[in-house]
């Protein structure tokens, strides 16, 4: 790893059979590799350039330095921590000939590696934790309101910075709908940030629906019947609501993707390190007794894959097991509910003397006893799945 330009520190465990290697990559090495893999970085504002460009070491000045707080205050890295992780991972997995460390899963040494774990940056994590989890704290609200909490860039929202922070009650009930999404994206990546953005979006949209739903529920309780007139408009409202939520989420997701530079982002289709395959061979046309390796006509690399019959076999086994387990669960749930039904039916049947005896039937026949419509249900289920 040192040959590949990485700085390492070795830490033994108590039983001496496990070792942790703490890996750090110096900035110039990061820049070298970033240029080779054409990593796309954010450019500085106001230069009349596209927002994201592939990195070039000679033009390092046009890229925006990351404003991340790091453990080392002297380092002003151009790379955000997920870029750094990506580069280090790339170095670890590439061949020694390409100045890598050749520690992929298929290499001799790499097999002994149990896990690659990116370490927390506690300074940043603590700041994130304070603004995210302990959002109602007084110091989070100095010079900002709830809306600006979901953004790190102060230019996005005009905030009266001299206004005193509101009271705790207000801070809690307004702040609960906001999260520091930009910081989350910077620290954990867009995958995690989108999950929390969806939760936030959903929560905001649920507020009016839950107020209406609450009143409908109260009306039903008052009427002592489920069949209250308000249920019909309510079902229309729910339909409209789900439509509105999805449409506005589409819009919001696009805005966020643009903001985080993941719009129209397509994942590079590289081979997974865990993939087990073999180099494809065909019989040599000149001498059918021998076989030759197949090269990709475009990249001229050796074709590395799994034969189609193997893929088909493993896939069909996997699907069969999944279907079997899922159907098994379905039958189990149905048996469970059918038994409950029998108990309830017997309970309501006042002529029956032993209304309260507890019996249990584990056979699948019990489903047929309560209902003949189970096949209708199954067909409905499959229609829904397909």
């Amino acid at each position: 790893m040192r040959q590949a330009g990485l700085e390492t520190q070795r830490i033994y465990g108590l039983d001496r059979s496990k070792v942790i290697l703490v890996v750090r990559c110096p900035e110039d090495r990061l820049q070298d590799v970033a240029e080779v893999i054409r990593l796309r970085l954010r450019t500085k504002d106001g230069l009349n350039l596209p927002k994201y460009l592939p990195f070039r070491e000679t033009h390092a000045g046009i890229f925006q330095p990351s404003n991340e707080i790091s453990d080392n205050p002297l380092s002003h890295s151009l790379f955000r921590s997920n870029d750094r992780q990506y580069i280090i991972n790339f170095i670890l997995h590439s061949q020694v000939n390409d100045t890598g460390a050749q520690l992929g899963q298929r290499s001799k040494l790499g097999r002994h590696i149990q896990a690659h774990v990116p370490l927390h940056n506690y300074e940043r994590l603590n700041i994130l934790y304070k603004t995210w989890v302990l959002f109602w704290h007084y110091e989070n609200w100095i010079g900002r309101d709830g809306r600006s909490m979901s953004s790190d860039r102060s230019v996005d929202y005009e905030v009266d910075s001299k206004a005193p922070p509101p009271n705790t009650f207000y801070r809690f009930f307004r702040g609960v709908f906001y999260q520091p999404l930009d910081s989350i994206e910077q620290y954990y990546g867009s995958n995690v940030a989108f999950y929390f953005a969806w939760l936030q979006h959903c929560a905001v949209y649920l507020v009016p629906l839950s107020i209406i739903g609450f009143f409908v529920f109260i009306a039903q309780l008052n009427a002592n019947s489920w069949d209250h007139w308000s249920r019909i408009p309510f079902s229309f409202i729910v339909m409209l609501w789900s439509f509105l939520t999805m449409v506005s989420w589409n819009k919001r997701a696009k805005v966020l993707a643009h903001r985080w530079g993941t719009l129209n982002y397509e994942e590079e289709e590289t081979t997974r390190p865990q993939f087990k395959g073999s180099y494809k061979r065909v019989p040599n046309p000149a001498n059918p007794a021998e076989s030759i390796f197949v090269r990709d006509p475009i990249t001229n690399e050796l074709v590395f894959n799994n034969p189609w019959w193997k893929r088909a076999l493993t896939f069909s086994i996997g699907i069969l097991v999944t279907l079997g387990v899922t159907l098994g669960l379905l039958v189990m749930i149905l048996i469970f509910n059918a038994n409950r039904d029998i108990l309830i039916a017997r309970y309501f049947d006042e002529e029956n003397e032993d209304g309260n005896t507890f019996t249990w039937d584990f056979s699948a026949k019990v489903i047929g006893r309560t209902t003949t419509g189970v096949f209708a249900f199954l067909s409905f289920y499959f229609a829904f799945e397909i």
Binding site: L14, L199, A203, G213, F214, T270
Partner: protein, 258 residues
């Protein structure tokens, strides 16, 4: 529904405890199936990351769909025949069916969800603490043995002079003081390395965003599909969503590795 039923504990036993049992065991089944699905996916040996992820989502989602919706659909569309023989045009039957969907739903979005939070957030913390205390004990043992060696080194002169006074230390005297010093040094280095916070951090579990994503989708589906049956569902889901936001934040910051 009459007052007679409401005051009978057996009625509530059938109505509440059964879906409760189901609601508590489903996350456990889900957890087991997640392991099975990952195993199957590894076995199926996909070449690219996106292919791998898509097939994992397909498997897990099919299973979860059955888990969380089978009961509700069963009561909503199938089970009413138990009451059909009564001649009230099925009105009582549908009312009872709705009552059962409602109780199942309310259990699924409240107790079952909170149990899930407990199982995914607090249980790992407890397990981690337990592991840590075991580790602490072994550190303590090592520290104790090092202190013993140190003491022996300090008093080595006396031990050598009056061996008959210390019959227990006979074996220890066979080691030379240089060896003991070396052992002490190595022991201290080992202790300081094994107590490095990195060990603590890497023993935390990894975050799995797929499970959270699927759960968010399920919650949304509850609102769109079943809030007509139980209009108070959105209130519960709203509370759950707000809770999830902060609890998952806590989970990510404190109980998971990066």
């Amino acid at each position: 529904m009459t007052a007679e039923y409401v005051s009978d504990p057996y009625f509530w036993f059938i109505m509440i405890v059964f879906p409760l049992l189901l609601g508590i065991s489903l996350p456990v089944l889900n957890f087991i199936f997640m392991k099975v699905a990952v195993f199957l996916n590894d076995f199926e040996n996909y070449k690219t990351e996106s292919e791998y992820r898509n097939f994992l989502v397909l498997k897990v989602f099919a299973f979860r769909f059955v888990c969380y919706f089978a009961t509700l659909y069963y009561y909503a569309f199938v089970s009413s025949s138990g009451f059909a023989e009564r001649n009230d045009h099925g009105y009582l039957a549908s009312e009872n069916g709705i009552l059962r969907v409602a109780t199942s739903l309310i259990i699924f979005v409240s107790v079952a969800h909170w149990w899930l939070i407990f199982a995914t957030v607090y249980l790992p913390i407890l397990i981690h603490r337990l592991k840590n205390s075991v580790r602490e004990k072994s550190f303590h043992a090592l520290r104790y043995s090092l202190a013993e060696i140190e003491l022996r080194l300090k008093n080595w002169h006396y031990l050598k002079e009056f061996p008959h006074l210390y019959p227990d230390e006979k074996k220890a005297l066979e080691e030379s003081p240089e060896d003991m010093l070396k052992k002490l040094k190595n022991g201290h280095i080992l202790l300081s390395q094994a107590m490095h916070p990195v060990w603590n951090e890497t023993s935390l579990p990894q975050y799995n965003s797929l499970a959270d994503y699927i759960y968010a989708v399920t919650m949304f589906a509850y609102v769109t599909c079943f809030s007509v049956v139980l209009p108070i569902t959105p209130v519960f889901i709203l509370l759950n969503t707000l809770l999830s936001m902060r609890v998952d934040a806590f989970k990510l910051c404190q109980t998971r590795r990066r």
